[in-house]
């Protein structure tokens, strides 16, 4: 039962991040996800300083706020002429450094475990349970389900606008699509996703799950709907494969899941190239007939 919860948590992370990652890849914002995963540290520390508690809820709020702040600051710097990648670099390293400093100044006595933040501890997930509506599940599962629902709702509401705004922002603006609102709403959903996942799998794996499955799906998808399905599939698969490999080799689950993401990417990349090559040589043969 314990193990089942761990697997379910991993699956949820894979599926939720896989879904959120699609537009991240299409909008070429992968590195903002990486930035947000670092700046949540700053958000969590601020939440602690302000509320003086280690309450999980306020940490989530703090982290979400940090995520939006990150997106906003990057946009601010970029629109004043600083190139995009440098803007991301400046914002997230500064906020992370600020977070670390704040920890040593105001929270050094508190056990804000850096390793936990970076790698999570999915094995501990089943022990922290919440009971809502007389259903008892691990807290992480509740939060992930909530965020999954939020992501689904966002997609149902804004799918076609996001599609257009991503493909051609200027044209979208010319027909009244609220591109700035969509940008920040999307960044908010990414922040929530990051926060929901990193408690169980840590900041690094969240980014791997946000970028990897979607990027892999992008290699072989012919439509966005296909990309969503494949991305969620890859996310879930990475989680399962990663979990069992980690169990087999007695090593870090989060690390192994990230590795699985990489393996699936390489395999898909080569498989796609191989299929492409075979198809082209077949066409060549047919034309030679």
């Amino acid at each position: 039962m314990i193990e089942l919860w761990v697997i379910i948590t991993g699956l949820l992370v894979g599926i939720t991040c896989g879904m959120a990652g699609v537009f991240l890849i299409l909008r070429k914002m992968s590195m903002i996800a990486d930035a947000i995963s670092h700046t949540v540290l700053f958000g969590i520390v601020m939440a602690f300083i302000i509320t003086q508690t280690l309450n999980g809820f306020w940490m989530l709020v703090g982290a979400a706020v940090a995520g939006i702040l990150t997106a906003y600051l990057v946009q601010l710097l970029h629109s004043s002429g600083i190139q995009h990648d440098a803007a991301i670099g400046v914002v997230f390293t500064s906020l992370f450094a600020a977070g670390v400093l704040l920890i040593t100044l105001f929270a050094s006595h508190v056990h804000l475990d850096v390793e936990h933040i970076l790698m999570g501890e999915i094995a501990f997930v089943p022990w922290d349970k919440w009971t809502l509506l007389s259903i008892t599940m691990p807290k992480a599962v509740w939060i992930l389900l909530l965020v999954l629902l939020i992501n689904i709702a966002f997609l149902l509401l804004f799918f076609k606008e996001m599609k257009l705004a991503t493909f051609d922002a200027v044209y979208a603006a010319s027909i009244g699509v609220p591109i700035l609102f969509l940008h920040y709403a999307f960044m908010t959903s990414i922040s929530f996703t990051t926060v929901a996942a990193f408690d169980s799998v840590g900041a690094i794996l969240v980014v791997a799950m946000l970028i990897g499955p979607a990027a892999t799906a992008n290699l072989i998808s012919r439509s966005i709907k296909q990309m969503f399905l494949l991305s969620m599939l890859y996310g879930g698969a990475s989680a399962i494969i990663g979990y069992y490999l980690a169990k087999f080799w007695d090593t870090s689950i989060a690390g192994m899941m990230a590795t699985a993401v990489g393996i699936l990417f390489i395999v898909t990349l080569f498989a796609q190239k191989l299929v492409d090559f075979k198809r082209k040589s077949l066409v060549g043969k047919l034309e030679g007939l």
Partner: protein, 249 residues
């Protein structure tokens, strides 16, 4: 009512003034060329009209009003290289996006929307490519899809940014025929154009732009060697043949 009214439009980036005191009035129902050398500010002019530049000074009115995207009155056809054609979708889907303004937020495109999109695709001769991934389209095909998207929108005034750049002759003919039929319906069309050879043949109205608007009016009045010389400032080499003034850049 005029299609376009621009008064004292100036745009500056950092320390450079890109557009200075541009003034022009264009009546409706014209097929207008916007021409000028590279770096003259043509794209900036277009962006300023479409209200994408917060740092502009001056007044721009489209069909008598300030630009309101929600009115869906303006159909914009951007440069092809403004987007990433690796996007995972097909040609029909792109054209359907032109209907999103009419569909409205939170709703799905209706059967009517899909029908109009199909018709728009047909009118540019791309109906066979409806299901084709846009990454597999040629330059000319991509340009036609962009035009179809604006057509599906059913606008009253169209702005096209270098639609003939790098397209094959058949596509160029298809596009200009469509633009001319739009004009016949009373719509107004503005084209940032790069090929001086075809200006007289395609456009009945011309705007000469180089950091400011040097001249505007009926093509036959404005598209003269003297005016062109002033616009292009010595970067122009002109030849005259017996048929008319043929200009080579």
């Amino acid at each position: 009512m005029n299609a376009l009214t621009v008064e004292n439009l100036s745009v500056a980036y950092d320390k450079k003034t890109v557009l200075e005191n541009a003034n022009v009035t264009v009546p409706t129902g014209r097929l207008t060329a916007i021409i000028g050398p590279n770096g003259a500010g043509k794209s900036t002019f277009l962006k300023a009209i479409l209200n994408q530049l917060p740092n502009k000074v001056g007044k721009v009115e489209i069909l008598g009003k300030l630009f309101d995207p929600k009115s869906l009155v303006v159909g914009y056809v951007p440069q092809r290289n403004a987007v990433d054609w690796d996007f995972p979708t097909n040609a029909l889907d792109i054209v359907l996006m032109g209907r999103y303004g009419h569909t409205g937020l939170f709703k799905r495109p209706s059967k009517q929307d899909k029908l109009l999109a199909k018709e728009a695709l047909e009118s540019v001769g791309m109906q066979e490519f409806a299901e084709r991934s846009i990454g597999q389209l040629s330059g000319g095909q991509q340009q036609r899809v962009f035009l179809a998207r604006a057509l599906a929108q059913n606008a009253n005034i169209y702005f096209l940014d270098e639609p003939f750049a790098g397209v094959d002759a058949a596509t160029e003919k298809t596009i200009i025929d469509i633009l001319k039929s739009l004009r016949a319906q009373g719509k107004s069309i503005f084209v940032v154009h790069h090929d001086l050879q075809t200006v007289k043949e395609y456009f009945d109205y011309t705007i000469l732009l180089n950091k400011t608007i040097l001249a505007s009016g009926n093509t036959e009045d404005v598209f003269t060697p003297e005016q062109l010389q002033e616009t292009y400032g010595g970067k122009l080499f002109m030849m005259q043949d017996t048929i008319g003034a043929e200009v080579v850049c």
